[in-house]
């Protein structure tokens, strides 16, 4: 899709430095913050997979529950079948993807508002089955005792090895997501988003591509859910409520979603921010509520748009404008 640029060397150097920083950071953090770093990495996957879904312009409210589907799949497969992590993670993804595939038929007949509400309803219904069917899913207390994975002799009950493991898995998934977006499939998804009738007029089956985005997005967030439960050792329905779904929305909206890395900025900045306001437990939701509102009203393109805005204000206009599809 790009007319042939590779990454400039400067970007590569920055990326290398960032990578090194990322690898050594956990050793300097407290236990609590190491936990946080792991969850942050997992949430990056959650948020980037959500962006794939929204590329077609449809915003679902079921993504958090899909993460739960992955988590419960892992919990069940470890507790009942003692499957190793190499199996449980793909299984988690497949389970979420399968649920998504089934839901395509009712949900993708609708667009915009209806899809939003329908996905919300389906998500709630799934979540309530976890609450209701105590025998299988453990009800409100959920499932526990999911043993930490033991891979190559490394016991992943320690945060630092698990962080590296999570980082590898998430990076790999992000690579795939990135490749998808920058392939013809990504182009087609964007085309559907911007002018569905035009895309259809040249043979694009919009339904199929929406389904693809939805299923793939669910697959990857299912893996994220699996990673979460392998670390926490337990899963409850309350981890995947509307509240968490709203967090995903906040990360994506505040961070921006025109570029691949927008949501990553959102989740990183806001996780740090969240830590900083830890003491304001009671009013925290209100702060997030306010942030959402301010974001929509005053920074609709998200944090990712700030560098471009600054450059336009203060810098020289050197490079020709690149289209968002060919860009990051």
């Amino acid at each position: 899709m790009n007319s042939g640029n590779g990454f400039p060397v400067r970007n590569l150097a920055l990326a290398a430095i960032a990578l090194v920083a990322l690898l050594i950071t956990p050793h300097f953090l407290s236990f609590h913050h190491q936990d946080l770093l792991i969850f942050l990495t997992i949430n990056v996957l959650a948020v980037c997979s959500y962006r794939l879904v929204t590329l077609t312009g449809e915003w679902s409210l079921i993504h958090a529950v899909m993460m739960g589907v992955g988590a419960y799949t892992v919990a069940l497969s470890v507790n009942h079948f003692e499957l190793a992590i190499w199996f449980t993670l793909p299984l988690a993804g497949c389970a979420a993807g399968l649920v998504a595939a089934l839901l395509c038929f009712p949900l993708l007949r609708m667009t915009q508002f209806y899809f939003l509400i329908g996905s919300f309803a389906a998500g709630e219904a799934i979540r309530l089955t976890w609450v209701e069917f105590v025998g299988v899913f453990g009800g409100t207390s959920g499932l526990r005792g999911v043993e930490a994975p033991l891979v190559w002799g490394i016991d992943f009950i320690d945060p630092i090895p698990y962080f590296y493991f999570t980082l590898c898995i998430v990076s790999f998934c992000l690579l795939i997501l990135y490749r998808i977006e920058h392939s013809r499939i990504g182009l087609t998804l964007h085309a559907i988003h911007w002018k569905t009738p035009l895309a259809e007029s040249v043979g694009v089956d919009a339904w199929r591509y929406r389904a693809l985005a939805f299923i793939l997005g669910s697959f990857f967030v299912g893996i994220a859910g699996g990673l979460k439960v392998h670390y926490l050792g337990s899963v409850t329905p309350n981890q995947f409520t509307v509240g968490f779904m709203v967090f995903i929305l906040i990360w994506v909206i505040v961070g921006g979603y025109n570029k691949f890395y927008g949501p990553i900025i959102g989740v990183v900045v806001l996780t740090i921010f969240d830590e900083a306001i830890r003491s304001f437990e009671v009013i925290r939701p209100a702060i997030y509520g306010g942030m959402l509102i301010l974001s929509i009203l005053f920074l609709p393109l998200g944090l990712e748009s700030i560098p471009a805005k600054l450059k336009a204000r203060f810098g020289k206009d050197s490079a020709p404008r690149k289209s968002p599809v060919a860009g990051e």
Binding site: I180, W194, E200, V202, A206, S323
Partner: protein, 251 residues
């Protein structure tokens, strides 16, 4: 050989009768004009042919196969592509990327091959085709420009290009000359002739009479959703009922 046959097509929207028992045939390789005063049902007819609407009654036959009721993307795959009334492009993409969407039918890949890069040959072929069409339409120099930055004439040419890349057999052009000055109109007429010479049948909805008279081999005239007359441009120009319809109906 009639490539497209419209048989007694009626389209009703609640109480509104947009098309009323319209029948006509389009020969392969011709440039057919579909004209009539505003509100005559011309665009509605296009939408019915291309699958964006389903006829309430009647049938549409393309290359001997019934296509009424099929989805737009299926009809596009079969070889009928339409353009849109207001300039409809993917504004946020470059000219090249816009046209590349048109290559969808001939060069789509599965997720696996896309991610693993296994479809390189097919993508390269698509790329080449796109460049070929852009060259054909005179847009090759603008290929990295954003669609939103193009002048009107180029935008229309791009809309044609997107459709052309999909290698259609029939193109339904919905008012491609709207808002053009005489110079742009002439250029567009040349492009249209070029497209037809490459073997594509064209049906044209248009109000610009110069373009219509200059391009079309045959005209089909609609008024108030009904077929009013058919004939060569000469015959239609002198047809009293047509003249009356335009003067009376506020075309």
């Amino acid at each position: 050989m009639a490539i497209l046959e419209i048989h007694n097509v009626t389209k009703q929207f609640g109480g509104l009768l947009a098309l009323d028992d319209v029948s006509f045939e389009v020969e392969e390789g011709e440039i057919r004009g579909l004209i009539g005063p505003n509100g005559a049902g011309k665009s509605t007819m296009f939408k019915n042919i291309a699958g964006f609407y389903q006829p309430t009654k009647g049938s549409i036959v393309y290359q001997g196969k019934n296509i009424e009721g099929k989805k737009p993307h299926t009809i596009a795959e079969m070889g009928i592509v339409r353009t849109f009334q207001e300039t409809t492009l993917f504004q946020e993409m470059t000219v090249f990327e816009n046209a590349l969407v048109g290559a969808h039918i001939r060069s789509r890949s599965s997720v696996f091959s896309a991610v693993l890069g296994l479809d390189r040959a097919r993508q390269q072929a698509a790329s080449d085709k796109v460049l070929e069409v852009l060259d054909f339409m005179g847009l090759i120099d603008r290929r990295d420009q954003l669609a939103s930055e193009l002048p009107l004439g180029s935008q229309r040419a791009l809309a044609l290009a997107i459709a052309l890349v999909s290698e259609p057999k029939v193109m339904l052009l919905d008012e491609p000359f709207a808002g053009m000055n005489p110079e742009e109109t002439n250029h567009m007429m040349d492009l249209t002739r070029k497209v037809r010479e490459s073997g594509i049948t064209i049906v044209l909805v248009e109000h610009d009479m110069k373009a219509v008279m200059g391009l079309c081999h045959y005209l089909t005239v609609l008024n108030f959703g009904q077929l009013l007359a058919e004939g060569t441009p000469e015959e239609i120009r002198n047809n009293d009922r047509v003249i009356e319809a335009y003067l009376g109906g506020g075309g």
